[in-house]
């Protein structure tokens, strides 16, 4: 039983990492008033750029950098469309998701050709700060990116609630007219929030290809972007609560995988759909009390 629980807890943290990164990225965007449905595609291009960068340069860190760069390009495109031009946010986001999906698959085929054996790379090594201690040792044996993601949760809270920059982000997400009247540059702040968000999403994608899989496949993201959209609501737009949602989802996903390998007959597909159903239920129960940023989905134009 002990190895089972230890393995489960370690896997939960691993599965939760890209979700934490992606959800915090989406949180920056949404707190500034932009629902970024480009997240699914940004994760995908992050996974691709990370893999291609690492495979071509031989350095995992340069791969990660490439993923962050592409994430930021995605954020910039979203900003151009929804912030500067004031275009419908959900259609723009879905368009970007489609674009990055096509782009990544197209580029992957050009760079790596069509081989029977998909190319692969050595993944990041894990670090074990607690060495061989029982329980703590194996559970804490994780990737550096996992530790970074965990540290990013309090950091995001601190940025949003304790810095001038965070206050500005929340201001343009709640009431851009008032923020503008107070002398803030709404366009610039929303663009910056989307850039940070894109960078985190790119990193989340790179975690999948560089730390988890060591390869790039068609199904590498498999709806994780939509999970992040759900987790934001589950967390009620609070950074501190992102952790619990991500761990819960990571836990359920890892548990079903382990039970499956044990040969237990479980409707695991139904288990996997639980997080979505729980989110919709949470939305229903919270009803009008959901504290979404007041100007989410509303374009702002200086007249």
């Amino acid at each position: 039983m002990e190895p089972f629980i230890i393995g489960l807890l370690a896997a939960t943290l691993r599965v939760a990492t890209p979700l934490i990164l992606g959800t915090l990225g989406e949180l920056f965007s949404e707190r500034a008033g932009i629902l970024n449905l480009g997240i699914e595609g940004t994760l995908f291009v992050g996974a691709f750029a990370g893999f291609a960068g690492a495979a071509l340069t031989g350095s995992l860190w340069l791969g990660l950098l490439a993923a962050i760069l592409f994430g930021m390009i995605s954020g910039l495109l979203m900003a151009l469309l929804t912030v500067r031009l004031g275009v419908n946010q959900h259609v723009s986001g879905l368009g970007l998701t489609l674009f990055w999906t096509g782009f990544s698959l197209f580029a992957f085929r050009l760079v790596f050709g069509e081989s029977k054996v998909p190319p692969s790379i050595e993944t990041f090594q894990t670090v074990s700060p607690f060495g061989n201690l029982p329980w703590l040792g194996p559970i804490s044996s994780q990737h550096i990116l996992t530790y970074f993601a965990l540290a990013l949760i309090p950091l995001t809270w601190w940025i949003l609630y304790r810095t001038r920059f965070g206050l500005n982000i929340r201001a343009v997400g709640e009431n851009p007219e008032a923020a503008d009247a107070a002398g803030l540059n709404v366009y610039a702040i929303r663009t910056q929030a989307l850039l940070i968000g894109g960078a985190l999403m790119g990193m989340a994608g790179a975690f999948l290809s560089l730390a988890q899989l060591g390869a790039f496949t068609y199904g590498i993201v498999a709806g994780r972007g939509w999970v992040c959209i759900a987790l934001i609501i589950f967390a009620n737009w609070e950074a501190s609560r992102v952790l619990w949602g991500a761990l819960l989802f990571g836990g359920v996903a890892s548990l079903q995988l382990r039970l499956q390998t044990l040969g237990l007959k479980l409707p695991y597909e139904l288990l996997l759909s639980l997080p979505y159903i729980v989110t919709i239920l949470a939305l229903t129960l919270a009803g009008r009390n959901v504290s979404a940023p007041a100007s989410l989905l509303k374009a702002y134009r200086r007249e």
């Binding site: 449905l37 495109l77 469309l81 723009s92 096509g102 698959l105 979505y276 919709i280």
Partner: protein, 350 residues
């Protein structure tokens, strides 16, 4: 950063019509970069992309085959969007319709096509409607944002289908994760022998024609568009906003359900997990490109059907990755969105 500002200034009528058409050359100019990257001669590639599919009978019919579900998902999305209901769930509603088709195809043993086909259409429409009902009710009763709920339900139904295909519905003969082949009496008949073009195409065209009539020529359509232009103003004018949105949402789900039934009964003859692979999301593109106008939606769906077919032609002929089609579709959407701004605003140097 880019220095420009946007001023409210409606463009003259003739320009409003031209702006969406401008998107096509701009898109192809941008995607030329991808062709150069793939070492392909752009002119030759565009010939294979846009003209070659139309120059042979077989591939021209294939364009219509590809366009059949797109006409329906485009019509579905345009109907909901017209009433200001942001249905992102056509993908899931299409799957719901496909499930109903597969189920009816299993239980209607030895049915006559005269009964089987209408039942399939009815079943698909109802299933799509039911899948759209949950988010629509949440929207009008509890003001729960429909963008997120419809989007998440797309993922839920894919898991649900995966559960059925790996369990109770698994084909006992092939043991693949697919449902058993549907009864011959529920199969949509072919419009042209030895092609894949089926009855669903007529359904799609009829739905679009009907949608045009409803939106442009009935009092209900007027109310829908009023709600779409502004909910507060519509409420002030005495329109029952919630009831209008609910109806639009349900009909939209039903139309998407028809697309799913068509794919089962006209193309695959059983339910498979990848039966849609984004047709519902393409519906959003098509509705946007078509300016939510059924005629525009029809043209946009045919054009996207052409791009889908052309991507395969160009991939075969010139060894350009087939995903070029996806890139072109997405670029076309983003460019059109950007250009639409010009219809109501003027961009000035900052």
């Amino acid at each position: 950063m880019l220095k420009f500002k946007i001023e409210r200034a409606p463009a003259p009528a003739w320009m409003r019509a031209i702006i969406p058409l401008l998107a096509v050359p701009v898109t192809f100019l941008l995607t030329t970069l991808f062709l150069l990257w793939a070492d392909a001669n752009p002119l030759q590639a565009y010939y294979h992309f846009l003209i070659a599919p139309l120059s042979s009978r077989v591939s021209a019919i294939e364009v219509l085959v590809k366009a059949t579900p797109l006409l329906l998902t485009g019509a579905a999305v345009a109907f909901a969007f017209s009433a200001g209901y942001w249905n992102i769930g056509a993908e899931g509603q299409l799957y719901a319709g496909a499930m109903a088709g597969a189920w009816l195809g299993m239980i209607l043993k030895g049915v006559s096509p005269l009964l089987g086909i209408p039942l399939m259409l009815l079943g698909g429409f109802t299933a799509g409607m039911l899948w759209a009902l949950i988010p629509a009710l949440l929207k009008v009763r509890l003001k729960v944002d429909e963008v997120v709920t419809t989007l998440l339900l797309n993922s839920v139904i894919v898991f649900l289908i995966s559960f059925f295909l790996n369990g109770p519905w698994r084909d006992p003969i092939s043991m693949w994760p697919q449902s058993p082949e549907i009864d011959p009496g529920t199969i949509f008949f072919k419009l042209i022998p030895r092609s894949r073009l089926h009855f669903g195409f007529i359904v799609a065209v009829a739905v679009l024609a009907l949608e045009w009539l409803v939106l442009k020529r009935t009092a209900f359509g007027m109310r829908m568009r009023a709600v779409g232009l502004g909910k507060e103003a519509a409420r002030f004018a005495g329109i029952k906003v919630n009831r209008t949105m609910l109806t639009a949402a349900l009909v939209s789900g039903g139309i998407a359900g028809l697309a799913g039934v068509g794919e089962v009964a006209g193309i695959h003859f059983h339910l498979i997990e990848s039966i849609s692979d984004g047709l519902g999301y393409s519906g959003i593109i098509i509705a946007t490109l078509g300016g939510l106008n059924p005629i525009g939606v029809g043209l946009a769906a045919l054009f996207i059907g052409l791009i889908d077919t052309g991507a395969q032609t160009v991939s075969r002929a010139m060894n350009v990755p087939v995903y070029l089609g996806t890139v072109v579709q997405a670029t076309l959407l983003l460019v059109t969105l950007g250009l639409f701004v010009l219809q109501n605003y003027r961009i000035k140097r900052g």
